[in-house]
């Protein structure tokens, strides 16, 4: 362990040293062009060029070498389908992905296009590193869902590579055993918060088999919990919005988390553990909510992202887990958040048109079928949500919960008015803000302080974080 730490320090200093040297080499150049200055001396090559030489595009993605090979196979199909563009895939492990891209950006050696972490898009855009991609779908038969466009100063700077929304998962065996009806999968029947808490109480039992509203119930010896609401900072925004508050103003420039409605929503999430005694304690230290709850059979209902269907639940389903999907409960407005990593065209590229052409081809669902049919990604193009034949092709397979349930609780939910883009689609500095918010709320989950007190105390710092100042 100790050597690891030293290794880490060493790596940090090496990266800094390398970064410094790389930084020096581009100091004289505009970071938006390649360091050789080629871009300024030559006009961009366009698709109309009669030259027989193919335009070479590099696409970067996160993932293992193996995953990189899979994507390269898809790219090879694209390369074979036309004779103007050749795409090469660069796979970078997830842990180092953004660091590597940062280094490449500094050196003026970014790939032409690539996937970018959600919370980096607006930041990179505000630093002038991304191209406008508004024209990507002009004249196409189907566009991505409106909520999947990343917007900076009114311009579309990226489309999400995949769609994800927040859902309520539940363990059917636990409901059956307690003889409690399942949560609703239809949006118009969505539970209010009170109904949600009442149901959760029926499903919470202590070691003597008593429920939270019964005499003699012992919160210290709960053996099964009714509900768990994921309290990662970015997901909490759904509850603030649902209560008529929010984290930010509509353009992402002002902070609204200090409003009573936002604070009340966060307190109610904390009260599931503190007062209602229906939820296990979670202080946001881990990101394995579904495994710890639904799959472990310890918690009957849990909120989390749609990707869980493919990343953990389908394996658990094979092992005998019976689970269902439902829409989220609500306070005043029905809200779910949608998100998805962004496919961007970097401004350093000399071939923006070709890069967009590749992206458009690649994000067509057929080319990501593995991720979509396993339930990890949801399609981005509208037609998969509106055309029932396509929906059947997508959902009617053993990796998913029953078709009607998923269609209603996920497919329809995702294209309803309840689905709103997560803040990072239009807000800068969300990483700073979410880190600070998570730290601010640390003692709220354990009841040492209230949401009101904690947020009021740190409101100025949260506002500064939104502006990118610390």
């Amino acid at each position: 362990m100790k050597t690891m730490k030293k290794g880490f320090m060493f790596n940090v200093s090496m990266v800094l040293l390398l970064g410094m040297m790389a930084g020096c080499s581009t100091n004289n150049n505009n970071p938006n062009v390649s360091p050789t200055g080629e871009a300024t001396s030559k006009p961009a090559v366009t698709t109309t060029s009669p030259s027989t030489e193919k335009v070479k595009i590099t696409y970067s993605m996160w993932g293992s070498e193996e995953e990189g090979k899979k994507t390269q196979e898809a790219a090879d199909k694209f390369n074979a389908s036309q004779n103007r563009i050749e795409v090469k895939v660069q796979a970078i492990p997830w842990e180092n992905y953004m660091t590597k891209l940062n280094t490449q950006a500094t050196a003026g050696q970014l790939p032409d296009t690539g996937i970018l972490k959600e919370d980096g898009v607006i930041q990179w855009s505000s630093d002038g590193m991304l191209n406008d991609v508004s024209s990507m779908y002009t004249g196409s038969d189907s566009k991505p869902l409106d909520s999947l466009a990343y917007k900076y100063q009114g311009k579309t700077v990226a489309y999400a590579a995949a769609n994800e929304i927040l859902l309520l998962y539940y363990n059917k065996d636990m409901f059956d055993k307690a003889k409690v009806p399942y949560p609703p999968s239809a949006l118009d029947k969505a539970w209010t918060w009170e109904e949600f808490v009442a149901t959760a109480k029926k499903l919470t039992v202590d070691s003597n088999g008593k429920h939270p509203d019964e005499d003699g119930f012992k919160p210290q010896s709960i053996v099964q919990y009714g509900a768990s609401v994921e309290n990662l900072a970015w997901q909490l925004e759904a509850w603030a919005l649902s209560n008529g508050g929010g984290f930010y103003s509509n353009d992402g420039t002002a902070v609204r988390i200090g409003e009573d409605a936002s604070i009340e929503a966060i307190q109610k999430v904390a009260d599931l553990y503190l007062k209602d005694h229906v939820a296990p304690l979670s202080v946001g230290q881990t990101d394995d909510g579904i495994q710890r709850t639904i799959i472990a059979g310890k918690v009957a209902m849990a909120t989390n992202g749609a990707w869980n269907v493919g990343t953990s639940l389908n394996a658990a389903k094979d092992a005998g887990l019976k689970y269902g999907v439902a829409v989220l409960p609500y306070f005043k407005e029905k809200v779910t958040l949608n998100t998805g990593g962004a496919n961007v065209v970097f401004s350093q590229t000399k071939h923006p048109k070709e890069a967009m052409e590749w992206l458009k081809w690649y994000t067509a669902e057929e080319n990501n079928w593995g991720l979509i049919s396993s339930g990890i990604w949801m399609p981005t193009l509208k037609k998969w949500y509106t055309d029932e034949t396509l929906t059947h092709k997508w959902v009617d397979n053993p990796n998913f919960p029953p078709y009607n349930e998923y269609k209603s609780a996920v497919v329809d939910y995702a294209q309803s008015s309840a689905a709103r883009p997560a803040a990072w689609f239009y807000t800068n500095h969300t990483t700073d803000f979410n880190t600070l918010l998570a730290s601010t709320l640390g003692d709220v989950w354990t009841g040492k302080t209230s949401a009101k007190e904690a947020i009021s105390k740190n409101l100025e710092a949260l506002k500064a974080a939104n502006k990118g100042q610390k």
Binding site: M1, K2, M4, K5, K6, F8, M9, F10, V12, S13, M14, L16, L17, G19, M20, G23, T26, N27, P31, M98, T99, N102, T103, A105, T106, Q123, W124, D127, M129, S207, Q220, S221, I222, Y225, P280, L281, V283, G284, Q285, T286, K298, T431, D432, T435, L436, A438, S439, T440, L441, G442, D443, W445, T446, K448, N458, A461, A464, A465, Q469, K470
Partner: protein, 307 residues
């Protein structure tokens, strides 16, 4: 340095021959130090005076990163306190624990080799596995420790989910991991001359007195070495925060190295992170200097000291 006592001329020729060989042999190490340690350190200092994010061209902003860190930064103060608290508990805990275990293992007990291995094993286990294991023990709702507590009718303790218990909980892991200190203590104990013990025993000194007046003084150089090693390692603590707590709850385990990592590789404020790095470096240097300065007063040395 002056160890020779020979005629001046001969000595200096020999000296210069030896010196040149020494310098040649030292070149690789010195090059390594210069390029991998000192230049990066200067680089860190340089970058810490910029607002570099990796994307835009860095601008020189003087000391304003440092000023921000000590005025408006929402994490820095908590981070320093958390790190010092952790280092204090871990260093004190692991020094006492490993000296105690080393003394037990130095006795003629059955299966001594086996027990020596048992106490060293945690140190060589992969960190990731260790922390996953401890996270199950410490889990606030259904963790093993809480299971035991509820079995005997006690209230649950939230361990790493509670801002008051998280640092002591993490320190406990660090103490448990201090097998390397045990090995070094053990080696030191075997060098304590047994004649002293025998003499004292004849004079009727009891166990405590022999420990207090023979073992402890003889061990002070080893204690100094272990103290230094342990202090530096624990002030740079980061793995438990990365593996178990994400710096939380609140800022209660946001150790300085974790803060640095977060600033540099999560928020990409490289200039800012370098300023934090330099503060960490200064704190480490200060503690090391204090330790060295006071060491002369309490280190017992037989004859001449190493310098």
């Amino acid at each position: 340095m002056e160890t020779f006592n020979k005629p001046q001329q001969r000595r200096s020729r020999l000296h210069s021959n030896e010196a040149s060989v020494a310098y040649i042999c030292l070149i690789p190490a010195i090059l390594g130090l210069i390029f991998l340690t000192y230049l990066p350190l200067l680089g860190v200092l340089g970058i810490s005076m910029t607002n570099w994010t990796g994307l835009k061209k860095p601008e020189f902003i003087g000391f304003s990163n440092y000023i921000t860190l000590f005025t408006t930064d929402p994490y820095m103060k908590d981070s320093i306190l958390a790190t010092l608290y952790f280092a204090f508990l871990s260093v004190a805990g692991s020094m006492i624990y490993s000296l105690f275990i080393a003394m037990l293992l130095n006795r003629k007990i059955p299966a001594r080799g086996f027990f020596r291995a048992v106490f060293y094993v945690p140190f060589v286990l992969p960190a990731a596995a260790i922390y996953v294991g401890w996270s199950w023990l410490y889990e606030a709702n259904f963790g093993f420790f809480n299971y035991l507590l509820s079995e005997i009718g006690l209230n649950k303790v939230l361990f790493i989910a509670d801002s008051n218990y998280v640092v002591p909980s993490l320190s406990l892991i660090s103490v448990w991991l201090s097998g390397n200190l045990i090995v070094i203590f053990l080696a030191g104990l075997q060098n304590v001359p047994s004649v002293y013990h025998e003499a004292a025993e004849m004079d009727g000194a009891n166990g405590w007195n022999r420990f207090r007046h023979i073992t402890l003084p003889c061990m002070t150089p080893i204690i100094f070495y272990n103290l230094l090693l342990s202090l530096i390692a624990n002030l740079q603590v980061v793995t438990p925060a990365l593996a178990l707590t994400n710096g939380g709850p609140g800022n209660s385990s946001r150790f300085m190295t974790y803060l640095m990592y977060d600033q540099a590789f999560v928020n990409y404020k490289l200039g800012y992170a370098c300023a934090t790095t330099f503060i960490v470096f200064a704190i480490l240097a200060a503690f090391t200097a204090v330790l060295f300065k006071t060491s002369k007063r309490w280190i017992y040395s037989e004859g001449d000291d190493d310098k």
